[in-house]
């Protein structure tokens, strides 16, 4: 019995090592400013700065940076248009923000200084390292927040495009009996699982990448992590695309009239 408890404790300590929760680097009143929240604010400031500088120097004949931004935005817009059709104009700003924020968050986590520059704190008699900057999507708060926003706007657009009656009929109907009622309830439950699916997928991939890099560094810190870094860059793009595409598809499905 004691051995079993020891194994569980050992596993928990390993999990704590890998699945590091966001740590507070300071407090504003009662509000804890965690390293991931601080990084989120930095990413927001960085993206806002880019948006400001691009919009300030916009011209009909674009420079290199404007051309790059235009191409990127147009690519996402066309992708949205292909799937959502006329609703693209409404969906696009949200999807583009997801893309920019998640991509910037994922890529920034691979930059030097992330999870490596910080302070040592002594809590409960143990000395722990608290980095100032931490990969945003390696914090479940952040991916859950994105999933909540995604789900909320998906349902908001569904009500806006279908009307409240048609929206509710997607799950409940007066004609529903037996299996149909059960399917309706399942559909409703599946809406909540979207939050878990979106948030844990992103969190899991980024966290797993972080763990993999950490492990590779612990074996041989000079060359070994390099292919994993390249893979993580790929994962950053893929996970961004997955989140964006899933949100877009959910929006499209929920905003379309259901045919029973």
């Amino acid at each position: 019995m004691q051995t079993k408890i020891e194994i569980v404790d050992s596993m928990r300590s390993r999990a704590d090592y890998f699945l590091s929760a966001p740590e507070a680097i300071g407090h504003i009143g009662f509000f804890p400013v965690t390293n991931t929240l601080f990084t989120s604010l930095l990413i927001t400031a960085f993206l806002s700065l880019i948006a400001f500088s691009v919009s300030k120097n916009l011209s009909m004949v674009p420079g290199k940076s404007q051309a790059f931004v235009e191409i990127f935005i147009e690519y996402i817009y066309k992708l949205t248009e292909q799937i959502a059709g006329s609703k693209a104009q409404v969906f696009f700003p949200w999807l583009m923000t997801f893309v920019l924020f998640i991509l910037a968050a994922n890529l920034s986590g691979l930059l030097p200084g992330f999870s490596s520059i910080g302070i040592y704190k002594i809590a409960e008699g143990t000395k722990t390292f608290v980095p100032f900057l931490h990969s945003i999507n390696a914090d479940l708060n952040s991916t859950l927040a994105l999933a909540f926003v995604s789900l909320f706007i998906t349902h908001f657009f569904a009500i806006r495009f279908l009307g409240i009656k048609a929206y509710l009929q997607k799950w409940f109907s007066t004609k529903m009996f037996g299996i149909a009622l059960f399917v309706g309830l399942l559909e409703l439950v599946s809406e909540f699982t979207k939050i878990i699916s979106l948030s844990f997928r992103l969190y899991g991939n980024i966290q797993a990448g972080k763990v993999m890099l950490k492990t590779a560094k612990s074996f041989y810190p000079y060359v070994l992590p390099l292919p994993f870094y390249l893979m993580e860059i790929m994962v950053a793009f893929i996970q961004t695309a997955v989140f964006m595409m899933l949100t877009l598809v959910f929006m499209k499905i929920l905003s379309s009239k259901q045919i029973h």
Partner: protein
């Protein structure tokens, strides 16, 4: 469930902060970036469409101009051919008239020359007759001067002159 979320460090206050942060980013990007970029894109698209329409219009105008040019050239060719044909006919007529005029003038000159020649011939004949008569008279005078009287001479001369005149008239 609460334990799981607690293990992952999920706290409602941090979750709310992340949501607010994302919404702020959304509003900033929407106002500063997407609206502006999409506006510029729309403007560019409009410009391209307008330019394409203009290009089509210009192409049509060029086609019309080419057709008009071909039409004008054809008309000019027909006119030129007509003018050349008229000029050729007129030239032939003028040449024919000139020929006629030349022929007439030549004929006239020949006629005048003939008349002059006849006149000169008559004149020469008269002079020759006179000279001949004088010679005859002189000869006769020389032969008959001693036999015939003055009155006889005159009669003979006049007779001979009349005969000569008659001969000439014949």
């Amino acid at each position: 469930m609460e334990q799981i979320f607690s293990n992952f460090g999920v706290k409602p206050i941090l979750l709310s902060a992340q949501i607010v942060n994302f919404l702020i980013l959304f509003l900033i990007l929407k106002k500063l970036l997407y609206k502006q970029i999409l506006k510029i894109k729309k403007k560019k698209k409009k410009n391209i469409e307008e330019n394409l329409r203009n290009a089509d219009k210009i192409k049509q105008q060029l086609k019309n101009a080419e057709q008009a040019y071909i039409l004008k050239i054809t008309e000019a060719n027909i006119k030129a051919q007509k003018i050349v044909a008229t000029a050729s006919a007129e030239a032939i007529e003028i040449i024919a008239k000139a020929h006629q005029q030349a022929q007439y003038e030549v004929d006239l000159m020949i006629k005048k020359s003939k008349e002059n020649l006849m006149y000169e011939q008559d004149k020469a004949k008269q002079v020759m007759h006179k000279e001949y008569a004088n010679l005859v008279i002189l000869g006769i005078e020389m032969i008959t001067s001693e036999v015939l009287q003055l009155g006889d001479h005159k009669k003979i001369i006049e007779t001979r002159l009349r005969e000569l005149n008659n001969q000439n008239l014949n």
